[in-house]
Amino acid sequence: MTTSTSTTDTKISAPPVRGTDYAWYAAGLLVLLIVPFFIYPLFAAKVLCYCLFACAFNLLLGTSGLLSFGHAAFFGSAAYICGHALKEWGLPFELAAILGTLTAASLGLVVGVVSIRRQGLYFAMVTLALAQMIYFMAFQMPFTHAEDGLTAVPRGKILGLFDLNNLYVLYYTAAAVFVIGYALIVRITNSTFGQVLKAIRENQPRMISLGYSVNNYKLVVFILSAALSGLAGATKTMVVQLASTVDVHWATSGDVTLMALLGGVGTLFGPVVGGVIVESLQFYLADSGLPIQAVIGAIFVVCILLFRHGIIGEYQRLRGKH
Protein backbone atom coordinates (compact mmCIF):
# COMPACT_ATOMS: atom_id res chain seq x y z
CA MET A 1 0.00 0.00 0.00
CA THR A 2 2.86 2.36 0.73
CA THR A 3 5.48 1.32 -1.79
CA SER A 4 3.87 1.71 -5.16
CA THR A 5 2.74 5.30 -5.20
CA SER A 6 4.48 8.36 -3.90
CA THR A 7 2.41 11.02 -2.20
CA THR A 8 2.68 13.44 -5.09
CA ASP A 9 0.97 10.85 -7.23
CA THR A 10 -2.30 11.21 -5.43
CA LYS A 11 -3.07 14.74 -6.55
CA ILE A 12 -3.54 16.31 -9.92
CA SER A 13 -0.55 18.56 -9.64
CA ALA A 14 1.28 20.86 -11.96
CA PRO A 15 5.03 21.14 -12.07
CA PRO A 16 6.28 24.55 -10.96
CA VAL A 17 6.20 27.12 -13.73
CA ARG A 18 9.56 27.70 -15.36
CA GLY A 19 10.85 30.94 -16.76
CA THR A 20 9.91 31.43 -20.36
CA ASP A 21 12.00 29.33 -22.64
CA TYR A 22 12.32 31.45 -25.76
CA ALA A 23 14.11 28.83 -27.85
CA TRP A 24 11.16 26.47 -27.48
CA TYR A 25 8.67 29.17 -28.38
CA ALA A 26 10.67 30.13 -31.47
CA ALA A 27 10.78 26.49 -32.55
CA GLY A 28 7.05 26.17 -31.94
CA LEU A 29 6.29 29.23 -34.04
CA LEU A 30 8.47 27.89 -36.82
CA VAL A 31 6.59 24.58 -36.79
CA LEU A 32 3.28 26.46 -36.89
CA LEU A 33 4.50 28.40 -39.91
CA ILE A 34 5.59 25.41 -42.00
CA VAL A 35 2.85 22.93 -41.03
CA PRO A 36 0.42 23.73 -43.90
CA PHE A 37 3.08 22.80 -46.45
CA PHE A 38 3.12 19.24 -45.13
CA ILE A 39 -0.36 18.67 -43.77
CA TYR A 40 -3.73 19.49 -45.29
CA PRO A 41 -4.24 23.09 -44.05
CA LEU A 42 -7.94 22.69 -43.27
CA PHE A 43 -7.27 19.71 -41.02
CA ALA A 44 -4.34 21.46 -39.35
CA ALA A 45 -6.51 24.52 -38.68
CA LYS A 46 -9.22 22.38 -37.12
CA VAL A 47 -6.68 20.61 -34.94
CA LEU A 48 -5.37 23.97 -33.73
CA CYS A 49 -8.87 24.97 -32.65
CA TYR A 50 -9.20 21.84 -30.54
CA CYS A 51 -5.68 22.37 -29.16
CA LEU A 52 -6.69 25.84 -28.01
CA PHE A 53 -9.85 24.38 -26.50
CA ALA A 54 -7.78 21.82 -24.60
CA CYS A 55 -5.39 24.54 -23.37
CA ALA A 56 -8.33 26.65 -22.19
CA PHE A 57 -9.79 23.67 -20.37
CA ASN A 58 -6.42 22.95 -18.84
CA LEU A 59 -6.12 26.56 -17.68
CA LEU A 60 -8.91 25.79 -15.25
CA LEU A 61 -7.90 22.27 -14.26
CA GLY A 62 -4.16 22.85 -14.20
CA THR A 63 -4.14 26.01 -12.14
CA SER A 64 -7.15 25.69 -9.86
CA GLY A 65 -7.60 21.91 -9.86
CA LEU A 66 -11.27 22.31 -10.80
CA LEU A 67 -12.37 19.61 -13.25
CA SER A 68 -15.17 20.98 -15.39
CA PHE A 69 -17.00 18.26 -17.25
CA GLY A 70 -19.15 20.71 -19.14
CA HIS A 71 -16.76 22.77 -21.20
CA ALA A 72 -18.56 21.74 -24.39
CA ALA A 73 -21.26 24.23 -23.38
CA PHE A 74 -18.86 27.15 -23.83
CA PHE A 75 -17.20 25.74 -26.92
CA GLY A 76 -20.54 24.93 -28.51
CA SER A 77 -22.47 28.06 -27.60
CA ALA A 78 -19.70 30.23 -29.05
CA ALA A 79 -19.67 27.99 -32.13
CA TYR A 80 -23.41 28.60 -32.62
CA ILE A 81 -23.27 32.34 -32.00
CA CYS A 82 -20.28 32.80 -34.30
CA GLY A 83 -21.95 30.68 -36.98
CA HIS A 84 -25.18 32.65 -36.70
CA ALA A 85 -23.33 35.98 -36.84
CA LEU A 86 -21.41 34.90 -39.93
CA LYS A 87 -24.34 33.36 -41.76
CA GLU A 88 -27.42 35.37 -40.83
CA TRP A 89 -25.98 38.73 -39.87
CA GLY A 90 -23.11 38.67 -42.37
CA LEU A 91 -20.61 39.93 -39.82
CA PRO A 92 -16.87 39.55 -40.52
CA PHE A 93 -15.10 36.71 -38.71
CA GLU A 94 -13.29 39.01 -36.26
CA LEU A 95 -16.54 40.41 -34.89
CA ALA A 96 -18.32 37.06 -34.95
CA ALA A 97 -15.48 35.45 -33.00
CA ILE A 98 -15.57 38.25 -30.42
CA LEU A 99 -19.33 37.83 -30.09
CA GLY A 100 -18.91 34.09 -29.61
CA THR A 101 -16.20 34.61 -27.02
CA LEU A 102 -18.33 37.09 -25.10
CA THR A 103 -21.27 34.69 -25.15
CA ALA A 104 -19.11 31.91 -23.75
CA ALA A 105 -17.75 34.28 -21.11
CA SER A 106 -21.19 35.35 -19.91
CA LEU A 107 -22.34 31.74 -19.87
CA GLY A 108 -19.18 30.98 -17.89
CA LEU A 109 -20.19 33.64 -15.39
CA VAL A 110 -23.61 32.05 -14.83
CA VAL A 111 -22.35 28.45 -14.70
CA GLY A 112 -19.36 29.49 -12.60
CA VAL A 113 -21.40 31.32 -9.98
CA VAL A 114 -23.50 28.20 -9.41
CA SER A 115 -20.89 25.49 -9.71
CA ILE A 116 -18.04 26.90 -7.64
CA ARG A 117 -20.33 26.65 -4.66
CA ARG A 118 -19.39 22.98 -4.72
CA GLN A 119 -15.92 21.46 -4.83
CA GLY A 120 -14.15 18.50 -6.37
CA LEU A 121 -16.45 15.81 -7.67
CA TYR A 122 -19.57 17.83 -7.00
CA PHE A 123 -18.16 20.59 -9.16
CA ALA A 124 -17.60 18.16 -12.02
CA MET A 125 -21.14 16.81 -11.76
CA VAL A 126 -22.76 20.23 -11.57
CA THR A 127 -20.87 21.54 -14.59
CA LEU A 128 -21.83 18.42 -16.52
CA ALA A 129 -25.49 18.75 -15.63
CA LEU A 130 -25.59 22.46 -16.47
CA ALA A 131 -23.88 21.77 -19.78
CA GLN A 132 -26.54 19.18 -20.54
CA MET A 133 -29.12 21.89 -19.99
CA ILE A 134 -27.38 23.99 -22.64
CA TYR A 135 -27.38 20.92 -24.89
CA PHE A 136 -31.15 20.61 -24.63
CA MET A 137 -31.52 24.35 -25.21
CA ALA A 138 -29.53 23.93 -28.42
CA PHE A 139 -32.31 21.61 -29.58
CA GLN A 140 -35.07 24.02 -28.64
CA MET A 141 -33.79 27.39 -29.81
CA PRO A 142 -34.96 28.39 -33.28
CA PHE A 143 -31.63 29.69 -34.59
CA THR A 144 -29.64 26.49 -33.93
CA HIS A 145 -31.73 24.40 -36.37
CA ALA A 146 -31.80 21.45 -33.94
CA GLU A 147 -30.34 18.26 -35.43
CA ASP A 148 -29.33 19.90 -38.70
CA GLY A 149 -27.13 22.51 -37.07
CA LEU A 150 -25.79 25.57 -38.84
CA THR A 151 -24.40 24.32 -42.12
CA ALA A 152 -22.46 25.97 -44.93
CA VAL A 153 -21.42 28.89 -42.76
CA PRO A 154 -19.70 31.45 -45.01
CA ARG A 155 -16.14 32.28 -43.99
CA GLY A 156 -15.90 35.78 -45.41
CA LYS A 157 -12.70 37.81 -45.42
CA ILE A 158 -10.24 38.41 -42.63
CA LEU A 159 -9.50 42.11 -41.94
CA GLY A 160 -11.70 42.78 -44.94
CA LEU A 161 -8.80 41.90 -47.22
CA PHE A 162 -7.91 38.22 -47.43
CA ASP A 163 -10.39 35.60 -48.54
CA LEU A 164 -10.68 32.93 -45.85
CA ASN A 165 -11.71 30.38 -48.46
CA ASN A 166 -8.07 30.26 -49.43
CA LEU A 167 -6.86 27.36 -47.30
CA TYR A 168 -3.56 29.04 -46.41
CA VAL A 169 -5.27 32.24 -45.29
CA LEU A 170 -7.64 30.05 -43.32
CA TYR A 171 -4.81 28.15 -41.67
CA TYR A 172 -2.75 31.21 -40.74
CA THR A 173 -5.83 32.93 -39.31
CA ALA A 174 -6.53 29.91 -37.12
CA ALA A 175 -2.84 29.78 -36.20
CA ALA A 176 -2.92 33.46 -35.23
CA VAL A 177 -5.98 32.88 -33.03
CA PHE A 178 -4.22 29.91 -31.46
CA VAL A 179 -1.03 31.90 -30.77
CA ILE A 180 -3.00 34.75 -29.18
CA GLY A 181 -4.99 32.33 -27.02
CA TYR A 182 -1.95 30.30 -26.04
CA ALA A 183 0.08 33.42 -25.18
CA LEU A 184 -2.76 34.62 -22.97
CA ILE A 185 -2.92 31.27 -21.19
CA VAL A 186 0.85 31.26 -20.59
CA ARG A 187 0.66 34.81 -19.29
CA ILE A 188 -2.26 34.03 -16.95
CA THR A 189 -0.62 30.85 -15.64
CA ASN A 190 2.64 32.62 -14.86
CA SER A 191 1.04 35.70 -13.33
CA THR A 192 0.61 36.29 -9.62
CA PHE A 193 -3.07 35.57 -10.23
CA GLY A 194 -2.08 32.11 -11.49
CA GLN A 195 0.15 31.59 -8.47
CA VAL A 196 -2.68 32.49 -6.10
CA LEU A 197 -4.89 29.93 -7.84
CA LYS A 198 -2.27 27.23 -7.39
CA ALA A 199 -1.94 28.15 -3.75
CA ILE A 200 -5.71 27.84 -3.38
CA ARG A 201 -5.56 24.41 -4.96
CA GLU A 202 -2.83 23.29 -2.57
CA ASN A 203 -4.31 24.70 0.60
CA GLN A 204 -7.62 26.47 0.42
CA PRO A 205 -8.18 27.05 4.17
CA ARG A 206 -4.81 28.77 4.47
CA MET A 207 -5.55 31.08 1.56
CA ILE A 208 -8.89 31.97 3.10
CA SER A 209 -7.20 32.77 6.39
CA LEU A 210 -4.67 34.91 4.52
CA GLY A 211 -7.56 37.03 3.35
CA TYR A 212 -7.97 35.88 -0.25
CA SER A 213 -11.52 35.76 -1.53
CA VAL A 214 -11.04 32.26 -2.85
CA ASN A 215 -14.32 31.98 -4.73
CA ASN A 216 -13.71 35.19 -6.68
CA TYR A 217 -10.37 33.87 -7.89
CA LYS A 218 -11.97 30.62 -8.96
CA LEU A 219 -14.80 32.43 -10.69
CA VAL A 220 -12.43 34.66 -12.66
CA VAL A 221 -10.34 31.75 -13.91
CA PHE A 222 -13.52 29.86 -14.74
CA ILE A 223 -14.76 32.75 -16.87
CA LEU A 224 -11.37 33.14 -18.56
CA SER A 225 -11.30 29.44 -19.35
CA ALA A 226 -14.87 29.57 -20.68
CA ALA A 227 -14.10 32.61 -22.84
CA LEU A 228 -11.01 31.01 -24.39
CA SER A 229 -12.95 27.80 -25.00
CA GLY A 230 -15.49 30.00 -26.75
CA LEU A 231 -12.79 31.58 -28.89
CA ALA A 232 -11.73 28.07 -29.92
CA GLY A 233 -15.32 27.08 -30.69
CA ALA A 234 -16.00 30.21 -32.72
CA THR A 235 -12.86 29.72 -34.79
CA LYS A 236 -13.75 26.07 -35.34
CA THR A 237 -17.13 27.06 -36.81
CA MET A 238 -15.41 29.36 -39.28
CA VAL A 239 -12.89 26.66 -40.21
CA VAL A 240 -15.22 23.69 -40.74
CA GLN A 241 -18.24 25.88 -41.68
CA LEU A 242 -20.46 23.94 -39.31
CA ALA A 243 -21.89 24.32 -35.81
CA SER A 244 -23.94 21.39 -34.59
CA THR A 245 -25.21 19.69 -31.46
CA VAL A 246 -22.03 17.60 -31.41
CA ASP A 247 -20.22 20.75 -30.25
CA VAL A 248 -22.36 21.03 -27.12
CA HIS A 249 -22.65 17.31 -26.40
CA TRP A 250 -21.01 15.83 -23.30
CA ALA A 251 -18.79 13.66 -25.49
CA THR A 252 -17.01 16.86 -26.57
CA SER A 253 -16.39 17.69 -22.91
CA GLY A 254 -15.02 14.18 -22.51
CA ASP A 255 -12.77 14.52 -25.55
CA VAL A 256 -11.23 17.76 -24.30
CA THR A 257 -10.63 16.18 -20.90
CA LEU A 258 -8.83 13.31 -22.61
CA MET A 259 -6.69 15.75 -24.61
CA ALA A 260 -5.52 17.51 -21.46
CA LEU A 261 -5.01 14.24 -19.60
CA LEU A 262 -3.15 12.54 -22.42
CA GLY A 263 -0.81 15.47 -22.95
CA GLY A 264 -0.35 16.25 -19.29
CA VAL A 265 -2.67 18.14 -16.97
CA GLY A 266 -1.09 21.31 -15.64
CA THR A 267 1.63 21.43 -18.25
CA LEU A 268 1.34 24.32 -20.66
CA PHE A 269 2.22 22.39 -23.78
CA GLY A 270 0.63 19.06 -22.87
CA PRO A 271 -2.92 19.83 -24.07
CA VAL A 272 -1.52 20.79 -27.48
CA VAL A 273 0.12 17.38 -27.80
CA GLY A 274 -3.05 15.70 -26.53
CA GLY A 275 -5.19 17.69 -28.94
CA VAL A 276 -3.05 16.73 -31.92
CA ILE A 277 -3.12 13.05 -30.96
CA VAL A 278 -6.86 12.81 -30.27
CA GLU A 279 -7.88 14.77 -33.35
CA SER A 280 -5.49 12.81 -35.59
CA LEU A 281 -6.81 9.53 -34.16
CA GLN A 282 -10.38 10.54 -34.90
CA PHE A 283 -9.40 11.65 -38.38
CA TYR A 284 -7.44 8.55 -39.35
CA LEU A 285 -9.69 6.06 -37.58
CA ALA A 286 -12.76 7.44 -39.33
CA ASP A 287 -11.94 5.38 -42.44
CA SER A 288 -10.59 2.30 -40.70
CA GLY A 289 -13.98 0.95 -39.63
CA LEU A 290 -12.79 0.67 -36.04
CA PRO A 291 -15.17 1.96 -33.36
CA ILE A 292 -13.64 5.37 -32.58
CA GLN A 293 -15.57 5.76 -29.36
CA ALA A 294 -14.32 2.44 -28.01
CA VAL A 295 -10.73 3.26 -28.97
CA ILE A 296 -10.95 6.67 -27.28
CA GLY A 297 -12.42 5.01 -24.18
CA ALA A 298 -9.64 2.44 -24.11
CA ILE A 299 -6.98 5.16 -24.40
CA PHE A 300 -8.69 6.98 -21.54
CA VAL A 301 -8.52 3.91 -19.31
CA VAL A 302 -4.92 3.05 -20.20
CA CYS A 303 -3.87 6.66 -19.70
CA ILE A 304 -5.39 6.81 -16.23
CA LEU A 305 -4.00 3.45 -15.17
CA LEU A 306 -0.48 3.78 -16.55
CA PHE A 307 0.55 7.37 -17.12
CA ARG A 308 -1.57 9.83 -15.25
CA HIS A 309 0.87 12.70 -15.78
CA GLY A 310 0.40 12.55 -19.52
CA ILE A 311 3.03 12.55 -22.23
CA ILE A 312 4.56 15.94 -21.45
CA GLY A 313 4.14 15.42 -17.72
CA GLU A 314 6.01 12.10 -17.82
CA TYR A 315 8.67 13.61 -20.06
CA GLN A 316 9.27 16.42 -17.59
CA ARG A 317 9.45 13.90 -14.74
CA LEU A 318 12.03 11.86 -16.64
CA ARG A 319 14.06 14.96 -17.32
CA GLY A 320 13.94 15.69 -13.63
CA LYS A 321 12.29 19.02 -14.22
CA HIS A 322 9.48 18.21 -11.85
Binding site: Q132, M133, W250, V301
Partner: protein
Protein backbone atom coordinates in the same frame (compact mmCIF):
# COMPACT_ATOMS: atom_id res chain seq x y z
CA UNK B 1 -56.91 19.56 -21.59
CA UNK B 2 -58.29 16.12 -20.96
CA UNK B 3 -57.64 14.19 -17.79
CA UNK B 4 -56.64 11.35 -20.08
CA UNK B 5 -53.56 13.29 -21.21
CA UNK B 6 -52.78 14.48 -17.71
CA UNK B 7 -52.89 11.03 -16.13
CA UNK B 8 -51.14 9.52 -19.12
CA UNK B 9 -48.16 11.83 -18.69
CA UNK B 10 -48.30 11.38 -14.94
CA UNK B 11 -47.87 7.65 -15.50
CA UNK B 12 -44.99 8.19 -17.93
CA UNK B 13 -43.44 10.44 -15.30
CA UNK B 14 -43.90 7.82 -12.63
CA UNK B 15 -42.25 5.19 -14.87
CA UNK B 16 -39.30 7.41 -15.70
CA UNK B 17 -39.15 8.34 -12.04
CA UNK B 18 -38.86 4.63 -11.18
CA UNK B 19 -35.86 4.29 -13.48
CA UNK B 20 -34.33 7.48 -12.12
CA UNK B 21 -34.82 6.20 -8.59
CA UNK B 22 -33.18 2.82 -9.32
CA UNK B 23 -30.19 4.40 -11.02
CA UNK B 24 -29.81 7.22 -8.52
CA UNK B 25 -30.03 4.78 -5.62
CA UNK B 26 -27.27 2.61 -7.06
CA UNK B 27 -25.26 5.72 -7.81
CA UNK B 28 -25.62 7.03 -4.26
CA UNK B 29 -24.58 3.67 -2.77
CA UNK B 30 -21.46 3.57 -4.93
CA UNK B 31 -20.59 7.16 -4.21
CA UNK B 32 -21.14 6.83 -0.49
CA UNK B 33 -19.16 3.63 -0.19
CA UNK B 34 -16.37 4.00 -2.74
CA UNK B 35 -16.19 7.76 -3.24
CA UNK B 36 -16.41 7.08 -6.98
CA UNK B 37 -18.63 9.02 -9.34
CA UNK B 38 -19.84 6.24 -11.56
CA UNK B 39 -20.51 7.90 -14.90
CA UNK B 40 -20.90 4.39 -16.29
CA UNK B 41 -24.12 3.91 -14.30
CA UNK B 42 -26.13 4.43 -17.49
CA UNK B 43 -23.93 1.88 -19.23
CA UNK B 44 -24.91 -0.78 -16.72
CA UNK B 45 -28.54 0.13 -17.35
CA UNK B 46 -27.81 -0.57 -21.01
CA UNK B 47 -25.97 -3.80 -20.15
CA UNK B 48 -29.00 -4.92 -18.14
CA UNK B 49 -31.33 -4.26 -21.05
CA UNK B 50 -28.99 -5.98 -23.53
CA UNK B 51 -28.56 -8.87 -21.08
CA UNK B 52 -32.30 -9.48 -21.21
CA UNK B 53 -32.38 -9.11 -24.97
CA UNK B 54 -29.44 -11.48 -25.50
CA UNK B 55 -30.85 -14.11 -23.15
CA UNK B 56 -34.05 -14.05 -25.17
CA UNK B 57 -32.51 -14.04 -28.63
CA UNK B 58 -29.44 -16.23 -28.12
CA UNK B 59 -30.59 -18.62 -25.39
CA UNK B 60 -34.35 -18.49 -25.74
CA UNK B 61 -34.75 -17.46 -22.10
CA UNK B 62 -37.83 -15.32 -21.61
CA UNK B 63 -38.53 -12.14 -19.70
CA UNK B 64 -38.66 -13.71 -16.23
CA UNK B 65 -35.22 -15.28 -16.64
CA UNK B 66 -34.02 -11.96 -17.99
CA UNK B 67 -35.37 -10.11 -15.00
CA UNK B 68 -33.49 -12.49 -12.73
CA UNK B 69 -30.24 -12.93 -14.65
CA UNK B 70 -29.62 -9.60 -16.39
CA UNK B 71 -29.12 -7.61 -13.15
CA UNK B 72 -26.82 -10.41 -11.99
CA UNK B 73 -24.83 -10.13 -15.21
CA UNK B 74 -24.57 -6.37 -14.80
CA UNK B 75 -23.52 -6.87 -11.18
CA UNK B 76 -20.86 -9.45 -12.05
CA UNK B 77 -19.44 -7.31 -14.86
CA UNK B 78 -19.38 -4.42 -12.39
CA UNK B 79 -17.64 -6.43 -9.68
CA UNK B 80 -15.03 -7.67 -12.14
CA UNK B 81 -14.33 -4.09 -13.24
CA UNK B 82 -14.17 -2.92 -9.63
CA UNK B 83 -11.74 -5.68 -8.68
CA UNK B 84 -9.42 -5.18 -11.65
CA UNK B 85 -9.57 -1.46 -12.47
CA UNK B 86 -11.66 0.78 -10.26
CA UNK B 87 -10.08 -0.40 -6.99
CA UNK B 88 -6.79 1.08 -8.19
CA UNK B 89 -8.31 4.54 -8.01
CA UNK B 90 -9.11 4.66 -4.28
CA UNK B 91 -5.75 6.05 -3.25
CA UNK B 92 -5.70 8.71 -5.96
CA UNK B 93 -7.45 12.01 -6.40
CA UNK B 94 -11.20 11.33 -6.69
CA UNK B 95 -11.24 12.91 -10.14
CA UNK B 96 -9.40 9.90 -11.57
CA UNK B 97 -12.23 7.61 -10.53
CA UNK B 98 -14.66 9.74 -12.50
CA UNK B 99 -12.38 9.80 -15.52
CA UNK B 100 -11.84 6.05 -15.38
CA UNK B 101 -15.54 5.25 -15.33
CA UNK B 102 -15.99 7.75 -18.16
CA UNK B 103 -13.38 5.86 -20.20
CA UNK B 104 -15.09 2.55 -19.38
CA UNK B 105 -18.42 3.97 -20.45
CA UNK B 106 -16.99 5.13 -23.79
CA UNK B 107 -15.31 1.78 -24.33
CA UNK B 108 -18.34 -0.36 -23.51
CA UNK B 109 -20.78 1.88 -25.37
CA UNK B 110 -18.49 2.12 -28.39
CA UNK B 111 -18.07 -1.65 -28.51
CA UNK B 112 -21.81 -2.23 -28.30
CA UNK B 113 -22.47 0.33 -31.03
CA UNK B 114 -19.87 -1.42 -33.18
CA UNK B 115 -21.57 -4.80 -32.88
CA UNK B 116 -25.23 -3.84 -32.56
CA UNK B 117 -25.53 -0.39 -34.18
CA UNK B 118 -27.66 2.27 -32.56
CA UNK B 119 -31.06 1.27 -33.95
CA UNK B 120 -33.44 0.23 -31.15
CA UNK B 121 -34.27 -3.47 -30.88
CA UNK B 122 -37.69 -4.56 -29.66
CA UNK B 123 -37.93 -6.58 -26.43
CA UNK B 124 -41.46 -7.87 -26.00
CA UNK B 125 -43.68 -7.49 -22.95
CA UNK B 126 -44.16 -10.97 -21.38
CA UNK B 127 -47.60 -12.52 -22.10
CA UNK B 128 -48.50 -12.52 -18.39
CA UNK B 129 -48.22 -8.74 -18.27
CA UNK B 130 -49.94 -7.81 -21.51
CA UNK B 131 -53.20 -5.92 -21.51
CA UNK B 132 -54.22 -3.54 -18.80
CA UNK B 133 -56.85 -2.15 -16.49
CA UNK B 134 -59.46 0.42 -17.31
CA UNK B 135 -59.58 2.73 -14.32
CA UNK B 136 -62.39 4.84 -15.71
CA UNK B 137 -60.37 8.05 -15.99
CA UNK B 138 -57.49 6.34 -17.77
CA UNK B 139 -56.17 3.08 -19.17
CA UNK B 140 -53.37 1.53 -17.11
CA UNK B 141 -51.23 -1.02 -18.99
CA UNK B 142 -50.34 -3.93 -16.72
CA UNK B 143 -46.67 -3.81 -17.61
CA UNK B 144 -46.28 -0.17 -16.56
CA UNK B 145 -47.89 -0.81 -13.21
CA UNK B 146 -45.52 -3.76 -12.82
CA UNK B 147 -42.45 -1.57 -13.52
CA UNK B 148 -43.43 0.93 -10.86
CA UNK B 149 -44.17 -1.85 -8.39
CA UNK B 150 -40.87 -3.69 -8.94
CA UNK B 151 -38.79 -0.50 -8.76
CA UNK B 152 -40.43 0.65 -5.58
CA UNK B 153 -40.04 -2.79 -4.01
CA UNK B 154 -36.34 -2.91 -4.83
CA UNK B 155 -35.70 0.68 -3.74
CA UNK B 156 -37.40 0.15 -0.40
CA UNK B 157 -35.83 -3.30 -0.06
CA UNK B 158 -32.35 -1.88 -0.63
CA UNK B 159 -33.03 0.89 1.84
CA UNK B 160 -34.21 -1.70 4.38
CA UNK B 161 -31.11 -3.87 3.88
CA UNK B 162 -28.78 -0.90 4.32
CA UNK B 163 -30.53 0.61 7.32
CA UNK B 164 -31.78 -2.43 9.21
CA UNK B 165 -29.61 -5.50 8.63
CA UNK B 166 -26.11 -6.50 9.72
CA UNK B 167 -24.80 -6.44 6.14
CA UNK B 168 -26.07 -2.90 5.86
CA UNK B 169 -24.49 -2.01 9.18
CA UNK B 170 -21.12 -3.18 7.89
CA UNK B 171 -21.62 -1.23 4.69
CA UNK B 172 -22.44 1.92 6.60
CA UNK B 173 -19.50 1.38 8.91
CA UNK B 174 -17.18 0.98 5.91
CA UNK B 175 -18.57 4.22 4.46
CA UNK B 176 -18.07 6.06 7.73
CA UNK B 177 -14.60 4.82 8.65
CA UNK B 178 -12.96 2.12 6.52
CA UNK B 179 -9.81 1.79 8.65
CA UNK B 180 -11.66 1.26 11.88
CA UNK B 181 -14.06 -1.16 10.21
CA UNK B 182 -11.10 -3.21 8.98
CA UNK B 183 -9.68 -3.25 12.47
CA UNK B 184 -12.83 -5.04 13.57
CA UNK B 185 -12.02 -7.84 11.16
CA UNK B 186 -14.51 -6.91 8.49
CA UNK B 187 -13.23 -7.45 4.97
CA UNK B 188 -13.69 -3.94 3.63
CA UNK B 189 -12.26 -4.44 0.10
CA UNK B 190 -14.69 -7.34 -0.45
CA UNK B 191 -17.47 -5.16 0.91
CA UNK B 192 -16.57 -2.41 -1.55
CA UNK B 193 -16.66 -4.88 -4.45
CA UNK B 194 -20.01 -6.13 -3.23
CA UNK B 195 -21.35 -2.58 -2.85
CA UNK B 196 -20.29 -1.67 -6.37
CA UNK B 197 -21.97 -4.85 -7.64
CA UNK B 198 -25.22 -3.96 -5.90
CA UNK B 199 -25.09 -0.39 -7.18
CA UNK B 200 -24.71 -1.39 -10.82
CA UNK B 201 -27.09 -4.35 -10.51
CA UNK B 202 -29.82 -1.87 -9.58
CA UNK B 203 -29.04 -0.01 -12.81
CA UNK B 204 -29.12 -3.35 -14.66
CA UNK B 205 -32.53 -4.11 -13.18
CA UNK B 206 -33.72 -0.73 -14.42
CA UNK B 207 -32.43 -1.69 -17.86
CA UNK B 208 -34.38 -4.97 -18.12
CA UNK B 209 -37.51 -3.27 -16.87
CA UNK B 210 -37.06 -0.51 -19.45
CA UNK B 211 -36.51 -2.94 -22.35
CA UNK B 212 -40.17 -3.58 -23.23
CA UNK B 213 -41.04 0.13 -22.90
CA UNK B 214 -38.16 1.93 -24.58
CA UNK B 215 -36.64 -0.91 -26.66
CA UNK B 216 -32.98 -1.88 -26.37
CA UNK B 217 -30.19 0.21 -27.83
CA UNK B 218 -26.49 0.80 -27.04
CA UNK B 219 -27.07 4.51 -26.53
CA UNK B 220 -30.02 4.15 -24.14
CA UNK B 221 -28.07 4.99 -20.98
CA UNK B 222 -25.83 7.78 -22.27
CA UNK B 223 -28.00 10.81 -21.62
CA UNK B 224 -29.91 9.19 -18.78
CA UNK B 225 -26.91 9.18 -16.49
CA UNK B 226 -26.64 12.97 -16.61
CA UNK B 227 -30.24 13.31 -15.49
CA UNK B 228 -29.37 10.89 -12.69
CA UNK B 229 -26.46 13.17 -11.74
CA UNK B 230 -28.80 16.12 -11.46
CA UNK B 231 -31.19 14.05 -9.35
CA UNK B 232 -28.45 12.95 -7.00
CA UNK B 233 -27.23 16.53 -6.63
CA UNK B 234 -30.77 17.66 -5.84
CA UNK B 235 -31.34 14.82 -3.39
CA UNK B 236 -28.02 15.19 -1.60
CA UNK B 237 -25.11 13.06 -2.70
CA UNK B 238 -24.98 10.38 -0.07
CA UNK B 239 -28.59 10.19 0.92
CA UNK B 240 -30.09 6.81 -0.05
CA UNK B 241 -33.66 7.76 0.68
CA UNK B 242 -33.07 11.18 -0.86
CA UNK B 243 -32.06 9.59 -4.15
CA UNK B 244 -35.22 7.48 -4.27
CA UNK B 245 -37.65 10.23 -3.32
CA UNK B 246 -36.03 12.81 -5.57
CA UNK B 247 -35.84 10.34 -8.46
CA UNK B 248 -39.52 9.53 -8.30
CA UNK B 249 -40.78 13.05 -7.73
CA UNK B 250 -38.60 14.65 -10.39
CA UNK B 251 -39.76 11.97 -12.84
CA UNK B 252 -43.35 12.92 -12.11
CA UNK B 253 -42.52 16.62 -12.34
CA UNK B 254 -40.93 16.00 -15.72
CA UNK B 255 -44.10 14.22 -16.85
CA UNK B 256 -46.27 17.11 -15.70
CA UNK B 257 -44.04 19.61 -17.48
CA UNK B 258 -44.69 17.70 -20.69
CA UNK B 259 -48.39 18.45 -20.28
CA UNK B 260 -48.13 22.12 -19.44
CA UNK B 261 -44.95 23.26 -21.19
CA UNK B 262 -43.64 20.54 -23.49
CA UNK B 263 -40.50 22.41 -24.61
CA UNK B 264 -39.25 22.60 -21.05
CA UNK B 265 -39.66 18.91 -20.21
CA UNK B 266 -36.04 17.98 -20.93
CA UNK B 267 -34.75 20.89 -18.93
CA UNK B 268 -36.96 21.04 -15.88
CA UNK B 269 -34.80 18.69 -13.79
CA UNK B 270 -31.71 20.76 -14.52
CA UNK B 271 -33.53 23.97 -13.67
CA UNK B 272 -34.53 22.43 -10.34
CA UNK B 273 -30.91 21.45 -9.76
CA UNK B 274 -29.86 25.02 -10.53
CA UNK B 275 -32.30 26.40 -7.98
CA UNK B 276 -31.44 23.85 -5.31
CA UNK B 277 -27.75 24.61 -5.70
CA UNK B 278 -28.41 28.30 -5.22
CA UNK B 279 -30.59 27.80 -2.16
CA UNK B 280 -29.28 24.66 -0.49
CA UNK B 281 -25.96 23.54 -2.04
CA UNK B 282 -25.81 20.30 -0.04
CA UNK B 283 -29.03 19.06 -1.63
CA UNK B 284 -32.49 18.60 -0.18
CA UNK B 285 -31.67 15.57 1.94
CA UNK B 286 -27.93 16.08 2.26
CA UNK B 287 -25.81 17.45 5.02
CA UNK B 288 -23.00 19.91 4.44
CA UNK B 289 -19.72 18.40 5.49
Amino acid sequence: MSTQVLFGQLLVGLINGSFYALLALGFAIIFGLLGIINIAQGTFYMIGAFGGWMLLNYFGLGYWWGLLLAPLIAGIVGMALEKTLISRMYKLDHIYGLLLTYGLMMFIMGTFIYFFQTAPRPYPVPPELQGGYNLGFMFLPKYRAWVVLVSLTFCLGTWFVIEKTSVGRNLRAATENPMLTRAFGINVPALLTFGFGIGVALAGLGGVLAGPIYSVSPIMGGDLVIVVFAIVVVGGMQSILGAVITGLSLGVLEGLTKVFYAQGANMVIFVIMFIVLMVKPAGLFGQEK
